[in-house]
Symmetry: C2
Subunit: 337 residues, 2 copies
């Protein structure tokens, strides 16, 4: 196999009823043809695994076209241009974008952007922060959530890629931050290295009781990545006129059948809450300003992104399930060999 002419790819074969499994995807090796004018050839270095990948495999009516059975699996990728007939993507340039789980990608640039070098920042950490998670955390907190200095923020999935950034960006904005995560190790990391004011281990502590203790005056802003019981615990302790930003409901994405919404839904009235769902792809107009902030904070050390690295594209399907079992800390990336 010639690494410059044969692409390894995962195709979507069978809709999973619950978790992604051995039948969900099909591995193929396919020749890459010659480039047409205006195209470039990208060698994928990192594949981003994101909770919403599972949503794209559902038969739900979702926020974009789902991946169709028989198509290559979709994902956010980062790579190096190794051949080019495109003026904006010269050989040697790095690029990131929304494409497919593929070792080699031929593109005319649709869905891609050149990826700027960030001096002193590891490429994987830069990609992990700048591509999706960073804009999601920044836009969710500020544009959707209207965060103000001095507020109390609770973030679930706090040790996930978005969660760790939500906490750090909220701290930069002058908020008090409480993170909910799935192990004592994650909680310690969030407090000691990411600046979180307090953490709750949802596997060993009663989240609702602990939120009551930690937020005696209530929660101003809940940044929700998880849903289920954890969202209910936050709903129980929202301050009057508080806001909830619903970024993800990862606890529900593998569920077969109907999933009940939060049992404390009535608190939307009782606490007069505003709840807003959002998808970062709707906010590309904010990216220039947001990416400038993120780059500044990465460079000056105020923003850190732990990377959970899985090696080998062949391991991507199994690795995806880590997201739904608290198996990763920070950004889950696949490094292609």
């Amino acid at each position: 196999m010639n690494r410059q002419t044969t692409a390894q790819r995962w195709y979507f074969r069978e809709r999973p009823a619950e978790k992604v499994n051995g039948d969900t995807f099909e591995w193929r090796e396919e020749p890459v043809g010659d480039l047409a004018d205006g195209q470039f050839l990208l060698r994928t270095l990192y594949l981003s695994l994101d909770a919403t990948n599972r949503v794209w495999l559902s038969d739900w009516d979702i926020y974009m076209e789902p991946v169709q059975i028989g198509e290559p699996m979709r994902g956010f990728v980062f790579g190096e241009v190794i051949a080019s007939r495109h003026p904006d993507y010269p050989v040697g340039c790095h690029a990131s974008g929304l494409h497919t789980w593929s070792s080699l990608i031929v593109s005319d640039g649709t869905g891609f952007a050149p990826f700027p070098a960030l001096d002193g920042i590891d490429l994987a950490e830069a990609f992990a922060t700048m591509s999706v998670a960073g804009p999601t955390a920044h836009v969710g907190l500020h544009h959707i959530g209207g965060l103000r200095s001095g507020e109390t923020v609770v973030v679930s999935g706090a040790a996930g890629a978005v969660g760790v950034l939500v906490g750090q960006i909220a701290k930069i904005a002058g908020a008090r931050v409480i993170g909910i995560a799935g192990s004592d190790e994650k909680c310690a990391l969030l407090r000691r290295e990411m600046g979180f004011d307090a953490t709750i281990n949802y596997r060993t502590e009663n989240v609702a009781d602990r939120l009551g203790e930690l937020c005696p005056k209530g929660i101003d802003l809940c940044f929700e990545n998880v849903g289920g019981d954890i969202l209910d615990a936050s709903l129980t302790h929202m301050k009057d006129f508080g806001r909830l930003v619903v970024c993800g409901l990862i606890s529900t994405y593998n569920a077969a059948g109907k999933v009940p919404g939060p049992f404390m839904f009535r608190n939307l009235i009782m606490r007069r809450l505003t709840v807003r769902g959002f998808v970062i792809l709707d906010h590309m107009d904010l990216f220039p300003a947001v990416l400038a902030d993120l780059a500044t904070w990465l460079r000056d050390g105020r923003l850190k992104m732990p990377v959970h690295m899985v090696h080998g594209l062949e391991n991507a399907p199994e690795a995806l399930n880590l997201l739904y079992t608290s198996g990763n800390t920070g950004k889950l990336l696949v490094k292609l060999d």
Copy 2:
């Protein structure tokens, strides 16, 4: 019994597990003492029954002090001042306010306001519209919901006091209105006399399917009074970036134990929705402008309020349950004999 010196009152005796029942309240007849300086004596003419009355009897953490066991039951009342040592409430003046289920009320004016005469408008209809339901509908649609001309509005509990006004006020604002109600008679009334563009009888039709037919481009604004399956049906058919105003969840107020939230909660993300709960008592600052609009529309015939009249304060507890069984059409009032 002297009607001017003996008050008939309902006291809260026992918290109901589900519906209000014969043990919930206790009837008492009590002497009314002399007026102190700055007080007036109100003879209650109408008692307003509202879905939120049931919420005040729960042990939930709600938006205001619940009614405590042993206290008189709380309610919105309308009456005539029959004795007065208060300069703003002369004998013969009408007043409305938040007080108790009582035939005679001694007050220093706290929670009350004089009720202006609306030429040509029946007093019961004016009270039914202006006291709570009208401000709730107006503020919910415009201030909370940001209604714009040309939008498609769906309102549940459409034949209830708030619902009939939501539909009519949305029509005045240039919206298309679909109402969900519990009988063919109610639906016919909403279409023929209240100007609704379409209706759905939730007892005989599949609400989700019908909303899909009636709103092929989706719902811009859902004004929710009911919750449960009906809210789920609307969530399923929201337009991208649509808004839901959560005014009531009447289907859940009598439930014992935990009530699941909407199963289509994920559509907050998929459709990027904004959901806002509100309570009209937070928006008293908007009342002057809102009441002026309502009075104008009542006078010029653009706003009508059907009144479902129950006779006799002694029948108030049983009448309250009509609200939870689709038993009333329009505003449910108790007329005191």
